[in-house]
């Protein structure tokens, strides 16, 4: 608190939008201590409390206004406050917001109409605000995530799934990265559908640079979103926290292709913690790029999904997939087992009489005669003199 009088900020702390935005600057994403404080006091009041805090007061433990809050007792307050104070000293969130507005973006806070309510499932780690370029229209979303080091197999599937899901009206949610993420965004755009890219850094910086034109297209027909204010650099810990937003925003998450250690596995575990349905797409076991998906399947953390219909089935209340495969009469070509057994007993290139069929099939004479009748009706067998012959197999 060096550069200005203690207890003041250069903007109006009572302004709820400015206060919400400020918390995104003061804390790292997903800071549960800030979440507890904001949840019980409100963004402006929490900021005001922090501004008027005598540093010594915090060292003692629980902030006085939270004395009766059970969840607040678990927080190490001196440590939390010690993280926020250095940033408070230089805080003027109007600067970051100005950058956002200049880029045509806007801040979305929980009171706003388009705030995605599903983020509330994050509890005390829910973001205070979203920095958005594009449109946050509502509608069910499905996250398609995966490794940057993707194979053409994975990218092909991500693009195809995204295309079909977007066409059906789902918002395709991903992380804007190279590989699977980019393929998913592209697939959705190709379908003329909506897609959201969640960035780990500020939305003023379209990161990674190689995807900047893709991210620009996403802004035009979907949204590029971050909980971090403009100017925030994408750092690894922020990517991991960004993944929780992807998982929370989507009704279901699908890991399309991910190696054993991919960050997509982290998104998957966020989905698991949020009790969101999780799917994993298998691939060749000879491809290490699918090892993470196989691990999710093996440990029973994800459902095996192989096509869009199966992905759709993940979504609670999502239309059940049209049955693409008939069920098993297949094994017996639609014939009942006895008829099949008699058909198999019919010689391929001659005819056979009933007593001979009785012995070769192991069925009784009555069963053989009944089965022959059914085979005749099905056009699979015909009378041939005193015996029977096969018609086609």
């Amino acid at each position: 608190m060096a550069s200005r009088a203690r207890g003041t900020l250069p903007f109006d702390v009572a302004d709820r939008r400015l206060a919400a935005a400020a918390w995104g600057r003061l804390t790292e994403p997903g800071d549960p201590a800030a979440g507890v404080l904001r949840h019980h006091l409100g963004d402006s009041e929490a900021l005001d409390w922090l501004l008027h805090l005598e540093a010594r007061e915090a060292i003692g433990g629980l902030p006085a206004p939270l004395a009766d809050v059970a969840s607040a007792r678990a927080v190490q307050w001196p440590r939390a406050v010690a993280r926020w104070l250095p940033r408070l000293a230089t805080l003027d969130i109007r600067r970051e917001l100005e950058v956002l507005h200049r880029l045509g973006g806007r801040l979305v806070i929980p009171e706003d109409e388009h705030w995605p309510q599903q983020l509330d499932d994050l509890g005390v780690t829910a973001p205070a605000a979203l920095w958005v370029r594009g449109e946050l229209t509502t509608g069910p979303g499905i996250a398609l995530v995966g490794a940057r080091a993707a194979t053409s197999y994975g990218e092909h599937l991500a693009a195809r799934f995204a295309h079909d899901l977007a066409e059906e009206g789902f918002v395709v949610i991903s992380g804007g990265a190279y590989g699977i993420d980019a393929a998913a965004h592209r697939g959705a755009l190709a379908a003329g559908g909506r897609t959201w890219a969640l960035l780990a850094g500020g939305v003023d910086r379209l990161y990674p640079a190689g995807n900047s034109s893709l991210l620009s297209s996403i802004i035009d027909s979907g949204a590029v979103i971050s909980e971090a204010p403009c100017g925030t650099a994408p750092m690894r810990s922020r990517f991991l926290q960004r993944n929780r937003l992807i998982a929370a925003l989507a009704e279901a998450t699908v890991v399309v292709e991910a190696a054993w250690r991919s960050g997509a596995i982290n998104t998957a575990s966020h989905a698991g913690e949020l009790l969101r349905p999780l799917g994993a797409v298998p691939g060749p076991v000879t491809s290490m790029a699918s090892a993470g998906c196989h691990r999710l399947l093996r440990e029973n953390n994800a459902v095996c999904v192989t096509d869009v219909a199966e992905i759709r089935e993940l979504v609670p209340g999502g239309a059940p997939a049209p049955q693409q495969h008939e069920l098993d009469p297949g094994l017996l070509d639609g014939l009942d087992p006895l008829a099949r057994q008699v058909l198999d007993a019919l010689p391929a290139r001659s005819s056979a009489a009933v007593p001979s069929l009785v012995r070769s099939s192991g069925l009784s004479s009555i069963e053989v005669r009944a089965a022959l009748g059914r085979l005749e009706l099905a056009g699979r067998a015909a009378r041939d003199g005193a015996g029977w012959c096969r018609l086609r197999d």
Copy 2:
């Protein structure tokens, strides 16, 4: 019972080996009525009962000797007997056994030392005898099954898995068919290991013909096995019953590659009914040849297995697979999260002082200093004048 006096057979019914072999001729594989009868009376006595049966007596229902047996009440006895009698008329099992012995094979019945005890789990559908060419040495077996219409991916995996499992002393069990089965047998043979081929027809006919030289090699260093007497033709219903033997003989079954309707799925359901562990190997979702495996995974009927270590883990009490992959510190390169966060905050091509790192990392000054200490120890950061710099990433 046309060609000879009622109540007689041309061989000694009291001979337990002949009686057991005869039941394989009288019934189709897996006939539960015969199983109930044999289980409660013994093979010879059951045959004797059938021989002395007045056909009219059976029509009435329960065979008199089984009047008190609950499981016998569920059997439709007239129907069962009507299936057996036509074959009884021409039965002389010594002929089939002569064929077997001429081929160097032998009959194995439950009293024999090498009878695979695990077949008893089949209950009333357990076979009365096995017709064996080769050696039925004991040892844990793993079934590798799959489609005839296999891809090179599936065949490659089947051969590799079989090779490594055989090398570790497992008997590789399969069905002698083209595709996955053949690849599995070949892999085991290539390792100089043991492999069993279960045939649907008699072992006198090495079916399919295209695999006859492979099956001959299996006889030399493993066994070709059937519950059907010599002379029995391979028919579709017999293939389905043969699959239950594969599942029962193996301590675990793995479906390597199978389409939606493959017979291997039938083997898989037998394994499930027997509560034997079942594994399925995933493949590209673009390959219909893996659709059956994916279905088993999706419906949670099988465990996802991708290598030999994971297959070995299926076997109860099997040595746990050596850990091939480190667990996750990976996500953060082995650094604790705070150190990682500070490392990310260190500029790539210059140095930074602690206050600046405090602001950019969002950590407290104490945490940043502690993390820098750990990074220094790990050789990842170094003091640089008044600040700190990164050493390598």
